[in-house]
Symmetry: C2
């Protein structure tokens, strides 16, 4: 990989997401050589991917070049690559662009969509974990409507205008709300020769409430918001298959749809080479102790979505969200410095700042540790928190301007088909994984 040798010990970080980047910042100009690897050359602010998918924001506004973050860090290297395997015996990682020795290895590869082994669903549905995937969804939505105007067959036309979102966690709920607003704000005006009232947004949830990681009060409020926006909510329904046209479920219910977006589960984005005892097979997460140390290794750590730190309060590990990732990344930065200085590491304790989701214009739900609220104020809180969390002044400013414009103009201008799917039919949709 052409990394110069150094007097400092080398920390290799796999992944420039919330966890990896928080760690990188903490290791700035410390006595380490740091090599950060990612398969994209940018950090993605995942909580806003659904706005890219639905035309509210441009991709560039929610991404930030990784090299720009580390521009002024000494003895710090970025490499654009995927890691194929870890060779723990020889302390090196094996990547597409060669091997690299590590003194400390930090796995921060995040998570990917979990189809629970159903290959047909995986092949036919879309997922939304990366910017290219969000742009694909945006293109697909618009291409569906371009196709719908051409078709006379009512059933086909309806299938193109039916959207099925599987999974009513934050991603499913936010996407459903944004699609409903896209219907009103854009599609109704852009496609006067279609009866857009027939467009259906179906949100399918396996258990009995949406946003089931939030309070019941917030779930209820979110459901009310969604219903008000015209989203159809199907609770206690499990999708069993999707052949590219028909969605079957564990009940008699079926849907005909050209577009299924799958947000029903995540699993760790695993890397090969760790001992079996270090892994939780079912969800592909890595077992770590309270110092984020991978079980069975001294000098290998895992942070963020990929890491499962089982504590009495979180027996299944922490939620796979930005906050635990950020906090683990920061603490590990401190701990690596302590380790190098011969000091004891500090145990991780998750500071749960709460969670929130936005459903649409003036509609959000917020759960703080001791206080739950929803509506207009919650929506402003949601916007404020997301704005200040974005990296970079320009991104903040551009996102703010876009939101202001979208709010005032009831519009979303991000509707360019720039990643078209080549010649698709109902049976050849693929979710381009890059």
């Amino acid at each position: 990989m052409n990394i110069p040798s150094s007097n400092n010990e080398r920390v290799v970080i796999i992944g420039g997401g919330f966890a990896g980047l928080a760690l990188a910042k903490k290791l700035r100009n410390r006595k380490f050589q740091v090599v950060l690897l990612d398969k994209h050359n940018y950090h993605t602010f995942q909580p806003l991917l659904y706005q890219v998918a639905t035309g509210g924001l441009e991709a560039g506004s929610i991404a930030y070049p990784i090299r720009k973050v580390i521009q002024e860090y000494k003895d710090f290297y970025f490499r654009l690559t995927s890691v194929k395997e870890i060779d723990t015996v020889n302390q090196k990682i094996i990547s597409e662009i060669g091997d690299l020795h590590y003194d400390y290895l930090v796995i921060a590869t995040g998570s990917k969509t979990n189809y629970f082994g159903n290959k047909e669903i995986e092949r036919n549905s879309m997922s939304m974990k990366t910017i290219p995937q969000s742009l694909n969804i945006r293109s697909l939505i618009l291409e569906n409507f371009e196709q719908a105007v051409l078709i006379k067959d009512e059933a086909e036309k309806q299938a193109l205008m039916n959207f099925v979102l599987v999974g009513a966690g934050p991603t499913g709920v936010e996407l459903a709300g944004a699609l409903a607003e896209m219907k009103k704000a854009i599609l109704q005006k852009d496609y006067p020769d279609l009866d857009i009232t027939k467009m259906e947004i179906n949100l399918v949830q396996g258990d009995d409430r949406v946003l089931n990681a939030m309070t019941e009060k917030s779930s209820k409020a979110a459901e009310d918001f969604l219903l008000k926006l015209g989203v159809k909510i199907w609770k206690n329904v499990r999708v069993t298959n999707y052949d590219g046209r028909t969605i079957t479920t564990d009940s008699d219910l079926t849907f005909e749809s050209a577009t299924v977006i799958w947000t029903a589960g995540v699993q760790g984005a695993k890397v090969a080479g760790l001992k079996a005892e270090s892994l939780i097979q079912r969800v592909d997460r890595i077992r770590v102790n309270e110092f984020s140390q991978v079980v069975g290794y001294e000098n290998i750590f895992a942070i963020g979505d990929i890491a499962s730190m089982e504590t009495p309060k979180y027996p299944q590990g922490h939620p796979m969200m930005a906050q635990p990732a950020l906090q683990q990344g920061c603490l590990l930065g401190e701990n690596l410095v302590r380790l190098a200085e011969g000091k004891a590491m500090k145990a991780f304790e998750y500071n749960d700042k709460g969670s929130m989701a936005t459903i649409g214009r003036n509609k959000a739900v917020v759960d703080l540790p001791h206080y739950h609220f929803h509506g207009v104020f919650a929506w402003f809180v949601w916007m404020f928190i997301h704005l200040i969390s974005l990296i970079g002044f320009k991104n903040k400013a551009v996102v703010f301007m876009n939101w202001a414009y979208n709010y005032i103009a009831f519009d979303r201008e991000g509707r360019l088909i720039i990643r078209p799917y080549k010649k698709r039919s109902f049976t050849t949709f693929t979710s381009d994984e890059i």
Copy 2:
């Protein structure tokens, strides 16, 4: 194509560029049914493509959804498709999505890159006429540097850092200047492990001055600006081949480069089906009379780059630029209305408002009909004219903000590789034409 029948005569416009869109606006709520066809669902502001390619602007800022333009027009339809052929006998166009009868046909398909028949250059070099192509160039530039950091072989490294722009018209000159600024503003900071001073920007021109359609004074000023920015200018040199690695010329001069951007010529983006006498084979343009009527037809018109209206002042047709396209589109709109009202059409007369090019920060050249100037003021004039020419308030605001940010921060944040080239080697580069 599922276009409803109408009591109005049908105008079919092929192409939503400057000419086609100007015409569409003029036909707003007139007594025509209008069907506008384009292979993209957006209008592209081509003069700023080079800024997308070099990370100064996001694609969304220089494009505008066509459906949004025509949202409130009556009896107006947009269809996303490519036209394969015109059947002038039966008065219909044959497209990917079916046939369509026309009463009046307007060909506004614009131009495409002209490789003068050299297939090897076409296969191995990049061109920059569309947004996807600009994003490809951006990705390729950044991927080159990501690859260069990995390579130890000095010759290969140098080839990745050598850029060759063939053709010193406005596109070549603006791109060369922007690349030179990208070198200083971004690459130098982002790639500390590379010796960026070795990056070469070579601008190759077939005759003896750059911007040869402008005044000699402006050519001279542009050359000085380019040299000041470190661009190497090669005049009176013709590129004869490029195999993906070595560029050969009509002299002893050769270049080793992984990236050739070809801006040395344009030709009409022709549509099959017209009589031979209507065409100028050499440049694939369509011969039109002073009413933009295609020679040999009563009810077929051509406007913009594709049309060649040979007049005493412009014996080769008008320059293939935005201004003639806009003016022809507007006049044809009026003329079609006059025609339908049984009035005589007005002859086109080109109002040459001048031309301009920007080379970089504080560096532009402007030729007005009776006045030529360059430098800081020219640069502000250039920015002002381009800003007000963009469609849409939000695009204007976002572009303005980006320019202000880039100016103040000496930065360009648009450096996401979102259309990566899968596994490339020197010999497998392709310029993905979509």
